[in-house]
């Protein structure tokens, strides 16, 4: 504290960070939680309309998380441990879903298995009712197992190969080593990966919204209460229940991994070779990965084929008509908005997160723990809740002079702070404090030392924050669904609307354009960063 008093500029910077965090993270959330008021909560809870969606949410989260984690584990084990061929191919296939809005899986599922689906109707001549629990379960499993894979692969690749070599050296077989060494050592990490996947599934809005039908979960109920009935009080209460569930999962996750783990997908190879696994196991891994990759190729391939054909699947004539549709008018604006908003949000988020991480990790002032918590908390906030929070707090007449695009950007910045922040804290831990002190003892103020010495050394953390925020901003639907205006609509919103309009050609072409744009942008960033980019796959 005394050091802050001696460096007023630092104190001002700290106060500014605290003010921003209070305004854009704390205030909107508090607004939602207190919106119903005590009597509102009593009425709402007595009404009982929340019981069904709550049960559904819990049920579907349990089911989808279980299957997504199982598939993700198989994929991760195969990638980390087996000696199967085609690993680079499987790695790319595993990353692609991360770059796409998760809810497009639901769209693809409708095209494949819907009442007029290419498989169900086209092959078997059936028009099954696929909406509801089983549809969501299947779709979320496919949409989120790549996330589970990234999280689990990271945990497994961190396990110490030397321990495994030592166990093998003492005479244990591969199976025994896995159960007695690898698994026990990575149990906290795996637990955290499972809980993180569960949060993804719990807060998933797009998939249940598109194929849920009358099967309502908490996020879709909150949405329909506002958009259908204008019942803001109940929506706030529902989202608060959702928030409590997500916070519960998140607190459990932090207890497991200390809230410090974050995943980077950088394609780095383990430095020490792992003990060999039997040939048969590698072969089985290969078959399993091939099947999973085929599933992903089918899901995303369907979207691509549909985007380039006249009327999928009845008229498969090649056309770029849908892309012309996507590039013009509001659609073109939406695509441009997505790019602008995401780049701006990613840049601000990464820089702000780095600065805040520095203040917390290197500071000695009281209240650091509280700021640390507030900067990590958005990771536990479901997107739909975050969106409602911004709607409540900032969609006010007296703010009409502000371009609504900025609201979306700010929401993206602060919703994604945790990834960049934790990357920054992790990066700062790698840099010995004597480097800061060296700068200080040579006459540089703390801020100057941060700029001259730490920032150049923390490029990796900045890039993780930037790329991850960018990708999450490009792919989010739930955060922006309450915040967009006709002039500030974005790609995910338009895709969602086109799916609702059953404009499949437009929706799929939009999806392909959105993913393509994200890939091109990432390739450009990678070129600018000389190939040194890493994607934080997790919500910190």
């Amino acid at each position: 504290m005394r050091s802050l008093r001696r460096e007023p500029v630092l104190l001002l910077a700290l106060l500014a960070v605290v003010a921003l965090v209070l305004t854009f993270i704390v205030y909107p959330q508090v607004q939602v939680v207190i919106a119903p008021g005590p009597s509102g909560y009593v009425d709402f809870l007595q009404g009982g309309t929340w019981i069904g969606p709550l049960r559904n949410s819990v049920e579907v989260t349990l089911l989808s998380t279980t299957t997504a984690v199982l598939l993700g584990f198989v994929y991760a084990y195969a990638m980390v441990y087996s000696h199967m061929p085609w690993k680079p191919f499987f790695r790319v296939i595993g990353i692609l879903p991360l770059l796409s809005p998760p809810f497009v899986v639901a769209a693809s599922y409708l095209l494949l298995f819907g009442p007029r689906g290419i498989v169900t109707y086209g092959v078997f001549g059936q028009s099954p009712i696929i909406f509801g629990l089983f549809g969501i379960w299947g779709v979320q499993t496919i949409a989120y197992f790549p996330f589970a894979y990234q999280l689990i692969a990271d945990v497994l690749s961190r396990s110490d190969a030397r321990m495994e070599q030592a166990a093998r050296n003492l005479g244990a077989g591969p199976w025994r080593v896995f159960w007695t060494v690898t698994l026990p050592l990575s149990r906290p990490g795996l637990g955290a990966a499972i809980l993180t996947t569960a949060i993804y599934v719990l807060e998933d809005f797009g998939n249940p919204q598109i194929i849920g039908g009358i099967f309502t979960v908490l996020p879709t109920q909150a949405y329909s209460l506002i958009s259908g009935f204008g019942d803001f009080t109940s929506a706030a209460a529902v989202s608060t229940i959702l928030l409590l569930l997500a916070l519960g999962l998140y607190v459990a996750k932090i207890r497991l991994d200390g809230g410090r783990a974050f995943v980077t997908v950088s394609g780095r190879a383990s430095s020490m070779p792992r003990p060999p696994v039997p040939l048969g196991l590698s072969a089985a891994c290969f078959v399993a990965c091939l099947a999973l990759a085929a599933l992903l190729v089918l899901v995303y391939g369907t979207l691509v084929v549909s985007a380039f054909t006249a009327v999928f699947p009845t008229n498969l004539t090649f056309t770029v008509r849908h892309f012309e549709f996507v590039a013009t008018g509001t659609n073109g604006d939406a695509l441009r908005n997505t790019l602008t908003f995401s780049v701006v949000a990613a840049a601000f988020s990464a820089v702000f997160a780095l600065f805040a991480g520095w203040l917390v990790q290197r500071g000695t002032w009281p209240g650091r723990g509280a700021l640390d918590f507030l900067l990590i908390m958005p990771a536990a906030i479901p997107g739909i809740f975050f969106g409602i929070g911004y709607l409540t707090a900032f969609n006010q007449a007296w703010l009409d002079w502000v371009n609504r695009g900025w609201l979306i950007i700010i929401a993206m910045i602060f919703w994604n702070i945790p990834v960049g922040y934790q990357a920054a804290v992790a990066g700062l831990r790698q840099v010995d404090r004597s480097l800061d002190e060296a700068a200080t003892s040579l006459g540089a103020s703390k801020l100057r030392g941060f700029r001259d010495v730490l920032v150049p050394m923390l490029g990796g953390s900045l890039r993780v924050g930037f790329v991850t925020t960018f990708v999450r901003a490009v792919t989010t639907l739930s955060v922006v669904i309450f915040l967009f205006t006709p002039a500030t609509t974005v790609a995910t919103i338009r895709i969602y609307q086109l799916v609702n309009d059953l404009n499949w050609g437009g929706a799929t072409a939009f999806t392909v354009a959105d993913i393509g744009m994200a890939i091109v942008a990432l390739v450009i960033f990678a070129a600018l960063a000389r190939g040194r980019i890493a994607l934080g796959a997790a919500r910190a």
Binding site: R2, S3, R6, E7, D432, S434, L435, E437, A438, A439, T440, S441, L442, G443, A444, S445, K446, R448, G449, D452, V453, P456, M457
Partner: protein, 349 residues
């Protein structure tokens, strides 16, 4: 000055005065508070009580970067993303020194520490000794009022350490700059310093010239920490103005009375004798002028420049160093020891 961390008092009411232009060393075992003291001088810690003055000016309220106390770190803390030149120029750049003067001073300082020609290297391309020199140059170039050095030689191998010791000493002499040096290596402290403060458990046990600390330690801890020593319980039998007569075992000796320490007749004291103060010979009537002991060699160890003997006298082993051991064959069996009375130092218990 006092500094606490939580409930632990790291530096406990320590007070000392470093003469301007001196090479001052804080010496002590790890955890004794010497580094904390140094870092508090640098401004990285705030003292819980007490004042820090540099050149007569109280600097407690000055932030670390305004104190004019450049620091050389144990791990050098070179900026890995800057070349040698940029590392050394950093402090001048921060101080907005003009480009021409900056270039000149960087060149001169690098020449001073013998690094000319390595300006464009990255820290990772340098050896440990070179990195250490860059760290010193980087701190020297800003001409600080005090240069603080935190165990700067501890990461180097023994040979290089000794070479750099000499260089540092020469450098300090030439610049006349005040150095405050922290180390746990008593040899380093003795060979480098004009002034040493030996710290233990957050307190300064004794401060003074190296000679004084080595031969006239005030406590048993000090005697033991600074070099090998024989510490022998004895009893004061008589007191004279400048001498004390002590008895230990069956022996009786008259030795120098320690100044500014109270000893009273009948009290227990410790006799402190350095191993090299003895002379050792095959059993024979020894030097009659000194204190003579008869014993047998229990063990010996060849240390290169000396032979160390453990000699059993009655029921106690004495450590005795014989210089230039190659001059005669190693001793064995019965030996005679003698030591001049003025080389025996009395520590009050």
């Amino acid at each position: 000055m006092t500094k606490r961390f939580g409930g632990v008092t790291a530096v406990d009411d320590v007070s000392f005065d470093v003469p301007k232009g001196a090479f001052a060393t804080l010496l002590g075992p790890s955890g004794c508070g010497k580094t904390t003291t140094l870092r508090t001088i640098a401004g990285f810690y705030d003292p819980d009580a007490g004042d820090i003055q540099i050149g007569g000016r109280r600097v407690n309220e000055l932030p670390a970067h305004r104190r004019g106390t450049a620091m050389v770190f144990q791990d050098y803390a070179l900026f890995p993303h800057m070349t040698v030149r940029d590392n050394v120029a950093y402090g001048l750049r921060v101080a907005h020194t003009g480009a021409a003067e900056r270039t000149r001073r960087v060149r001169e300082t690098l020449a001073f520490v013998g690094l000319t020609g390595l300006e464009d290297r990255w820290p990772s391309q340098l050896s440990g000794g070179q990195q250490q020199r860059v760290a010193v140059a980087r701190a020297l170039v800003i001409e600080p009022q005090v240069l603080l050095l935190d165990e700067p030689l501890s990461n180097l191998d023994a040979k290089l350490r000794e070479q750099l010791r000499v260089e540092l000493r020469t450098l300090q002499r030439r610049l006349g700059m005040t150095f405050v040096y922290v180390t746990h290596d008593q040899g380093e402290a003795l060979s480098l310093s004009d002034w040493i403060a030996v710290m233990n458990a957050g307190k300064v046990e004794q401060a003074g010239e190296p000679w004084e600390i080595y031969y006239h330690p005030r406590t048993a801890f000090l005697a033991d920490f600074v070099g090998a020593v024989n510490l022998v319980p004895a009893r004061v039998s008589e007191l004279a103005e400048t001498t004390v007569t002590v008895t230990f075992g069956t022996h009786r000796a008259q030795v120098r009375r320690p100044p500014d320490v109270t000893v009273t007749a009948g009290h227990d004291v410790l006799l402190c004798v350095r191993p090299e103060s003895f002379s050792i010979t095959p059993a024979a009537p020894a030097d009659r002028n000194g204190i003579a002991l008869e014993g047998t060699v229990a063990r010996r160890a060849f240390l290169g420049d000396t032979m160390r003997y453990w000699v059993r006298v009655d029921d106690r082993e004495w450590i005795v160093d014989q210089p230039d051991p190659g001059a005669a064959s190693p001793l064995d069996g019965a030996v005679s020891l003698s030591v001049r009375p003025e080389r025996v130092h009395v520590i009050a218990e």
